[in-house]
Amino acid sequence: MTHSQTDTLKEGHASIGDVVGIREQTAFQKMVASQAFWVGIALFVLVVFMTWLEPSFGTVDNTTNITRNFAPIAIMGLGMTVVLITGGIDLSVGSVMGLVAIVAGLLLTWHQPWYVAFGAGLLAGMACGAFNGFFVAYIGMPSFVVTLGMLSIARSAAVVLSGNQMLYQFGPDAPIVKAIGQAKWPRHTPDGWVPRWIPELSSHFWVMVILALIVGFVFIFTAWARHLFAIGGNEHAARLTGVPVDRVKFQAYVFSAFTASIASLLLLGYSGSAINAMGTGYELRVIAGTVIGGANLMGGYGTAFGAVIGSAFLEVIRNALLMAGIDSNWQGAFVGAFIILAVLLGMQTSGKSLRATLEGMFTWKRK
């Protein structure tokens, strides 16, 4: 240990400076390496192919349809992504939708103004999220168990509150509710200003776009998001370095419930009715969308873009198969195969192609 200060002189910081500036990947390389990018490519190819194959696919009307149909799933996907990043899961989103719709629907049938009804719905939904968050974050229970419990509880609450009725006589504010759920923008001539060939996009879609932009911004620019990722990467380390782990996790579940509530209210407005079965089974679709978009169930990775693109991909496949007139019995097989293929495509960029994998299968293996 004969070291001394003079070393510094001999080589100086400059030489270390040379090194610290290096980036292992440029932003472009990172993008190309991401699964969402490749699923996006697959989606694009599918859209081009379908437009060529089936003229009714590429119409403005169908575009309006598709963009509206996947928006609620994508909106929930944004919330789910936040939860998945922390290493958790939220199985209750579908049931929360049902509860929110019933709470808002009840108030509407009692002739309350729409904002009161929507506010109450949001509150009910976020209360479910707070319940989940409390037991997961502060009590430390596994998220799968807590949100599975909530899946049952919220659905049951919806059934009880609705008295098993479909609610649809929405009182004076019914037109506003309907307008919220069915609004489109931009409007075609003559009502509006845009020509026929530009699709009218639903309020669902625009809400999704705005939420995705906000979530994307948050993910990139805020300390909160950095804490989310740190928790998913190494919860213990995050705790030791002073990240408010419990609070952040709690907020993640509340946010997930919030997005489920928004989706529910949009669908409520769109369908003009509240049914306690709304959202049944959506949890799997939402998780599927986000995972196809590249979110990691083990935590630590996920993007807003991925949540949107994954949901869009699922919906476009469904729509495309119908448009192509594929026998309905076979559609499930195609959907399944496409899901696997899209993700497989995305994987080829992690440095290893399918061919190489097959070649090396019984010899060399990726990590």
Binding site: S56, T59, D61, N62, N65, N69, G98, V159, S162, N164, Q165, M166, Y168, Q182, L267, Y270, S271, G272, S273, I275, N276, A277, M278, G279, T280, G281, R318, N319, L322, M323, G325, S328, Q331, G332
Partner: protein, 312 residues
Amino acid sequence: QEKYTFALVPKNMNNPFFDQARDGCKKAEAEANGAFECMYIGPGEHGGGEEQVQIVQDLVAKKVDGIAVAPSNAAAMAVALEAAKEAGIPVLTWDSDVLPENKDLRVAYVGTHNYEIGVNLAKIVQTIKPSGGTICIQSGGAAAANHNERMKGIRDTLAGKESAASPGDALTGQNGWTEAPGCPLYTNDDFPLSVQQFQDFMAKTPNLDAFVPTGGFPQFIPDANRAAVEPYKDKIASKALALVVADTLPVQMDQMKEGLSLGQVGQRPFEMGYKTMLALKDMKDGKPAPADPTYTGLDVCTPETADTCIAK
């Protein structure tokens, strides 16, 4: 002449009931000698009905030539049907209908009078148990409008008085009829669960007077149902237990003949699929639209009439 595409949209595709409608649809297609194609498509599972609305929207965007749909969520379906109307696509409803205020969105309803199923189920129960007793109704889903209608039919008939809205007012002694605690039971279309519920329930309430599923669920897994009902066969034979079930699929009729039920009230899904297709074809050809509603009729069966009750 161009070939039409008519879509037949069921509530869900994993129920043998709707398979029959599909068979009817396919038969009509075959008989039309290539004049139209039957496109059978619906959501995999029942759920809240949003997915079904999406599918109808897709069909409108695809510009099919006619749609026959069995709405899960009647109110929500109105939105899609409005789009169909705008696009000039003729629509029929079958199996279940849209809300009364949206009747103008479809040409006609072709299907069962669901309330009547309930009424007929109840009538069979009443002949077996004229003085009333405890009853348990087993339904499909808490939000299923058709099942709720049937439940209302049962309740109203037994109570002898009409209730304001489906699924009707629970029986609490009207006309001597009381619903057992914990009832109605909801199967959510899970067939094994429906058998489990029957077993559990009978274990708890061996002296139950009537058990009435508003759909065929338990009988769709015949041997399990046999095993579950077998212990009560004597009670059924002696009419101590009025087990009366909705629907009359062949597998169900077999079970009634074996003495595992005292009555079946069936619909004619095959005919729904068949008739809607023919009606759509007629409308396209400029012939008059079917009457609204067009009831496909019910088959009311008891062990005595088992071989003759089903209209062919």
